[in-house]
Structures are given as structure tokens and as C-alpha cells.
Symmetry: C2
Subunit: 530 residues, 2 copies
Amino acid sequence: MIAGETSRAYEEVFTINYIAARSVGIGAYVNRLGQRIIQNRRAPILLTGAGALNKVLSREVYTSNLQLGGIQIMYPNGVSHLVAADDYRAIQQAMKWLQYVPKTIGSPLPILKNLDNPEREIGFVPVEGSHYDFREMLVGKYVENNDEKTYLSGFFDKDSFFETLGGWAKNIIVARARLGGIPMGVIAVDTKTYEQVIPADPADSNSRERVVQKSGQVWYPDSAFKTAQAINDFNKGEQLPLMIFANWRGFSGGQRDMFDEILKFGSYIVDALTQYKQPVFVYIPPHGELRGGAWVVVDPMINNEVMEMFADEKSKGGILEASGIVEIKYRKQEIVATIQRLDEEYIRLSRELGSPEISLQEKDQIKLKMEKRVERLLPIYTQVAECFADLHDTPGRMKAKGVITEIVSWKNARTYFYWRLRRKLVEFSLLNQLSDCVAQNKISVKRQILREKVINNEKLWNNDKEFLSWVESNSQTVQQSIANIRREKVKQDVACLCSENADAVLEGLLSYLEHNSVNEALKEKLRKLL
Amino acid sequence: MIAGETSRAYEEVFTINYIAARSVGIGAYVNRLGQRIIQNRRAPILLTGAGALNKVLSREVYTSNLQLGGIQIMYPNGVSHLVAADDYRAIQQAMKWLQYVPKTIGSPLPILKNLDNPEREIGFVPVEGSHYDFREMLVGKYVENNDEKTYLSGFFDKDSFFETLGGWAKNIIVARARLGGIPMGVIAVDTKTYEQVIPADPADSNSRERVVQKSGQVWYPDSAFKTAQAINDFNKGEQLPLMIFANWRGFSGGQRDMFDEILKFGSYIVDALTQYKQPVFVYIPPHGELRGGAWVVVDPMINNEVMEMFADEKSKGGILEASGIVEIKYRKQEIVATIQRLDEEYIRLSRELGSPEISLQEKDQIKLKMEKRVERLLPIYTQVAECFADLHDTPGRMKAKGVITEIVSWKNARTYFYWRLRRKLVEFSLLNQLSDCVAQNKISVKRQILREKVINNEKLWNNDKEFLSWVESNSQTVQQSIANIRREKVKQDVACLCSENADAVLEGLLSYLEHNSVNEALKEKLRKLL
């Protein structure tokens, strides 16, 4: 019963588990069913104890329970979100986590004021090709300059970054952070290659420790799973708006990863985004790129009721990388045709070849020259073609094609997303007030009502700051409009109930009227109809 | 957009995908998001083609696309539910699958009449310790006897068995089958040990093919995932009642499986059962057993609105196996104490030892004798203790403790579950008619209303056949009761709407009355109140 209830609880409220001592069997399952786990580094998570396993295996394979379910197993495989050295630190971490979570389901987000100026520029600007930790872009970085330390600020508020699942699938960074005091879920990409260590199996004498190289900017089975897990954690219980810093060249599609069910775990990302209930911003950062399968699983059309996509001026996006698209759409023979059409030297040789005055031997020589010319020009023309194809992948084209909402330059991204987020939060809170007003509670329908019947001004609707200030200073008008819409809905509901069972409606009304009074004018109208 | 919609579609309707030729990138993802896949054995499922991968790896690693995503990869890892030799056979399989699925969501199950007598005994009775394929228990078996073939019938209707996911985690059998013509989802356990082959990775010259032994009756990460996948497939879109033949000694808890995230996949079983909407019967078959963690993830309390558990007379169930419980609850020192209390020889020796007449040397000899006596008796007493502990795990005790609904002997199981299933289907269809009548549409609340206000007879409620015949011959009474309950609900809704906005209710009523007439007596009452 506890297992079933915990499974339901994770869907509905904020759940967190601290493994203080030992968690065994169904105890371990209850913890996993609650998903968010902080594990004491001296506390194992077990299904069967080492002693019992040794008995089954008839030899002394395991020396301790920690060997089976200690943090060296449970942190790298993403069962434990955090590890703690002792109870005090574990409770500290749990308290910190709770600071990002609304008081109850449906409560407003816990916003802290005056942490860090939301309208400042971002100090840390990445240089193309240089090596940096993406966390520095998010939280800033201290740089030493002639023995002086300067702080280059990052995207989020200073010191507001709280990372979880740090031991698992390290290509993906998962954290909670604040933007102008507002808590957000964060998913970002670590571009470095990392070495995953798969421990040897003590029960199998043939097994050895394996080290697997995992490239940055590529989704593997584990990192896709981690991405989906994070989206679900943010969405369920935590109710956080989500910021995805998208920088993926695709999914790893080698035989090993195909066998390791990458299709299942990649699909989880789509499943998780489909269910998202809060605003989601997908942003391609400077020098970041988003391609093919990776683009598709984070495209706003997955769940366009809540998702929006943005890109920095220096980002790239498209199905294939430029070299790939040239290989398919502008093959060698087409490049050769271009050379024949444009190269003056080639055209001259070709004209010479056509002349009736030359001998057969001269013809052969000219043909050889022409071939050599093509050979020499081919790499140059290919480069030009790739450069041309690359132009398609710029933010300007993405915006023109309508696949992103806006080009947002990194320096000003903090300010832009702060206002966008504040606006979205007000918009979503108004949408929530319309919840009973539409069939199936569909956000898109509610948004249309809000836009056309409550705000009713396209200029306001399309400008975040103006939208915010208008809603703030016209709260009475807004509330009146919403009340009118609800009133219409009640009328419709009654009409609907009447056509189902009018007698029952009258009876319900009667029992109400016996103890309450209503509007005289309406009574009068009703009297006439009776 | 297609990805997002396919993810939603799997949750809401029956989805099936046939990989006829080649499924690449997002195409592959859309197929996986629709979950049920039939793969043509010449058609690969890919993320990146072999050519492009070779280019990335700068050497000729892969020779074909089939090597990456052919059936030898996608069938053993459970991405493909079925494989087909050609288009014709694939369509045949899809058609067969569709025969088990309701026409539309919410439609009644497609029941076939007169397939196989539902009230016959089951012909195939397993002998303890003998080797048999559990499929034989489900579908029957031909036995040769003096050159004559006899058919021993199984649990389900003859020739109605349709297995899927057969290449993946072979300890678990997943199928659709019919019981007296009614389609059901089936999950059963293959008790044989099987060898899982993990192919070598062509991209890693150090890797070798690995063969892993997987015991029967134990859940591993892959077989737990398969179990959950099957439950979800049956529940979502297929809307099938579910029969689980439970025979698990537990989850594999060795270091390798702990690292391979068995806790996550085991939890999936609980998550999936929590969401189940149709009747679920869990049945421990003859010579089957259910222990510890395995019991907990299929216990009816996970979702007691739809789940029930049953056991054959010759089955066993409990937290630990008898030897395990003795080790914890009746340790060596307690067994020794029992010997000291009961063994006449030991008591005699002990009395001798207490005698004041014997010398120190004699004492030592007696002590030695006593020790030897204990040593000799220990294994016998331990066996007796285990035998005693085993008595706790019998179906009689399970029933007395209320952890199973009924003891159902294998021979008559077909008849019993046929009537139980028919009764449950009628009960669920009545519950569906009460859907608008309770807050949050909770089955348990609706069942209480059905039991107390519609059936209102405990004897009828507790007897499947009587329940069925009474409901059938009193359909008018039943419909009248349900209509009354709905009427009460409409009255409550109106009262509720009135307290929200009485004016709007009156307006709604007005617009209805302008075009329709209602009961005169009620009108009169209303006139008085106005």
C-alpha cells in the first residue's frame, strides 16, 4: 500500500527521501518510487544483503552491503540525486531543495527579492573554441588578472545554483537556480568528453572494469534518461518553469547504444515534455548547435501550449550539419556542373576543345587540363557550398522560418528571459483562473480566451513588460472579465444539465431557493416563463 | 508535432507501428513513441546510417544498416514487439493483434463465442520438480502415448495464445489470450534459466560478446522493464483485463544488477499497476511461489480498486523462504534451547551432569557428549523448524491473513476465473455508468455506491454467478437506480453552481425554459418560492 501510494504521491506532490541508515527490499523500492533521493554515504540501498547473496552464490563474493548499494553504485547510476556525509548535511540539502519548491501544489513559486539585478548584462561571454565549463555560463566565474580576482557574472542569480544527479551521465547538467529571484529548473549540456566507469561484477570472474568514452553534445541512453528524469522531477511536485540550454548534435546511434535501448530513453524526453505544465524555454546558447533528432525531441511543437524556443546570434540549428547537407543536396556532379558553368579557365578550355582546328592529340591534352582544373577547384567549390549551406542554419533563417520565437543575444539573455518568465507566470496564473471555463481544461483554448476576451489588445499581448504593467494596473478589469467568462460557463453548464435532466435541475434550484435569495429582476423574468 | 502527438496517442488509443522499409532518426523515435512495433526482418531502425557513422569514426566499422538496427538488435532489446518475414505476414500479425482490442476506446471487449468450453477442467497439471514450459499450462500440450497424440488442455481457450516481446528478457512471458472467448493480457514466468547474449560492440575493439545466465523466477532489470511495458501496453489503448501468473522468488540484487538500475525498472511495475484501469487477477500457480520484494510489487494493495490475488492449493507465499525466516526468527541458540527442552537423551545427560556424585573428569566427558548430541540433532531440528515455518506460507494461511481473496485449485481455475472475469466486466461497466456521479471519478467510491445503492444485497454481491444472473434479469431496476443516483448528482451540482453564482444559474435556466417545457408540479413549487 505504501508503494502504491508513493507512486501516486510522486505524480501529485513533492516527494523527497533521505537514506539515513539502511534501505532494504521494499524499503528500497519505496525510496525509488518517491524518486528524489539523498543518500548518506554510509547507508546502503539494497534488495538482498551481502550475507544472503553469498549464501545463494555459495562463496564469499561480497564483503559488505555498501559494496552492493553504497554511493559508488547508486550515485553514478542516478538512483541517488545527492549524497551526504552525515545527517546534518543531508537535512541541509533537503532544506535547500525545498527553497525552490512551492509551499503546496498550486501555490505561487517561492520568489526571493533583491538577490541579483535581473536587468544586468551577463559578464561571462564564451569564446568560440575555448574550453570552459558550461556551469560558468550559468553561475559566473572568478578570473585572476594581475593577482586581482574579478567576478564575471552568469545567467542566473549569483550563488543560486543547486545541482542534482551530478554523478550520473555527466554530459548533462541538471540543477535548480534563480532568475531574478524566481526559481527555475535547468538542463544544460557539458561539452567535454567524459569517461564513464562501469565497475567489474564481483560475481562474474570474467568481468573487468570498463571505461567508456562519452562525447559532449551527444545524447546517450543514460544521458537521455537523465534529461527525462530531470524534466519529470521539475514538472511533478516541484512545478518549476524550465530552461533548457540546448546544445546537442544528435543521439549516439552506434550498435552498442542501439542495443542499450537508446530509442526508449530518448522517447522519454518527448513523453516528459508532452506532460509539462509550466513554461518551458529552450535556448540555443552562443556557439551551441542543435541538429536532427536532438532538435526534434525539444522542439516547441512537442507541447506548444507551454514551450518556446530561442537562439543566440552565434548559434546554429538545422537537420544536418552543413557538410552533411551538401553531401545529399549538392553532390559532386552538381558541384562539377557549377564549375563548368562559372569557371572562366574551364570555359576557355572547353571553347578551345570545340574548335575545329585542333588535332586529336591536342584534344586529349585539353581534356586532361580540364579534368585537372575540376580536381583543383572541387575542394574550394565544396567549401563554398558548405559555407552557403551553413547560412541556412543561422538564427536569422530560424526566425524567418518560424521555428524559433526570437533571437536573443547572450549578453542580454538574462534580462530578456527574466521579463519573459515574469510575463509567462502571470499569464499562466490567469490561465489557471480560467480552469473551470473550458472543456478538458486545455491551455491553448484558455489562452485564446485570455488573449481575445480578457486582454483583447495584440500590442499588449506581444510585449512582455507592457503586458505585465497593464495586468497589474488593471486587475479589477481583468477579474471582472474572468468573472463574466465563468458566469457564461455556469449558464452553459446549467443548460447542459437541463437537457440531461431538467426536473433534477429544478429540484436542485428549489432546495437552494428555500434557504437563499436571488436577484429580483431575474426572479421576475422566471415568474413570467413559469 | 508528430512526436508529441504520438506520445499522447499511446496514452489514449491503440497504436501500432510496422517498420516496412527503413525507419531513421525522428522516424525511429515516432515508432518507439507509439511503442507497439512490428519489424520487417529486412528493415532497420536507425538513428544514424552506417555510412555516416563510419565517417564520424574515420574507419569502416559498420558494414550495413541492418547491423545497427536490424531485428538481431531490436528484437532482443524489446524495441520490436514482433518480427515479420514480409509485409503480408506483418499485416497478418497486426490483424491478429487487433482481434484482442476493443473497436474504440470505451467499447466493450471483442468477445468470441463458442471457442472452447469455459467450464471445462484444465487437462495439463504440472508435476512438481518436472521440467515444463509454462506456456503449456496456458495453452495446453500434445502428448504422445503409444503413437497416439492426446491433447491436454490449458488455462486459456485452445489456439487463442498470441505472444509478443518474445525476444526480450525471456524469463517473462507476455501474451494476449482468450478465456471463454474474452480477451485478456497475460504475464507469466518462464522458470528455466536462460542465457542472454550481449553482442560485442564493433566500434570498440576491446569488447567481446558476453553471455549472462539469468535464473528463472527472478526479476532482472530487463525482465522488470518488460513486465512494466506489458502492463502499460495492456492498460493503454488495449484496455484488457490482466492475468498475472505470479511465480517470483524476488529481484536479483547483485552488484551488477544494482548498478544496472534494477530499482528504477522494478519501480516501473508498481507505477504501471497503480495506473491500471481494468480488472487484474494475480494468481500463484501450483508449485509457484511469491516472496519478498516480488510479492510487494504485485500485491493488490498497490491498486486495490482493480486488483485481486488468488493462489493454488500447492503454491507458496511469504516474505522470506522458510530457511531464511528460520535463520532470522529461530536462530541457532533458540534451536539449541529447544533441544535442551525436548530431547530426552540431552535431558538425561544434563541430569547426570548435575549429580553431585560424579568426578570432574566424568563431567567433562558428559559435557562432550551433550555437545555431540546437540551437533547431531541440530540439522534435524532445523529441518523441523523450516517445515514449521513453511506452514505459514500455505494458501490456507494466506487466506486466513486476508492477503488473498480465494484459494483456487488449478484444475478448476479456468472455470473460476471465467465467471470472476465476466462478473468483473459487468461490474466495471456499471461503474462506468456511474462515472459522472462521484467526485474525481474514484472507482472505490463508485463501487460502494453500486454495492449499497444499486445491488444492495451482500449475498448477490459475493457470488459471481448470482450477481451476473440478477443484473441480467433486473436490468430495468438497475438502470432505474443508476438514473436516480445521477439525478441526485445533478441536484447537487446545481446547488453547488448556485452557491457559486445563483444569478448565472437562473439565466441558464431561463434560456432553457424559453424553448423547452418541464414538469408541472415542480413549476408550481418553484412559483411559490419565487
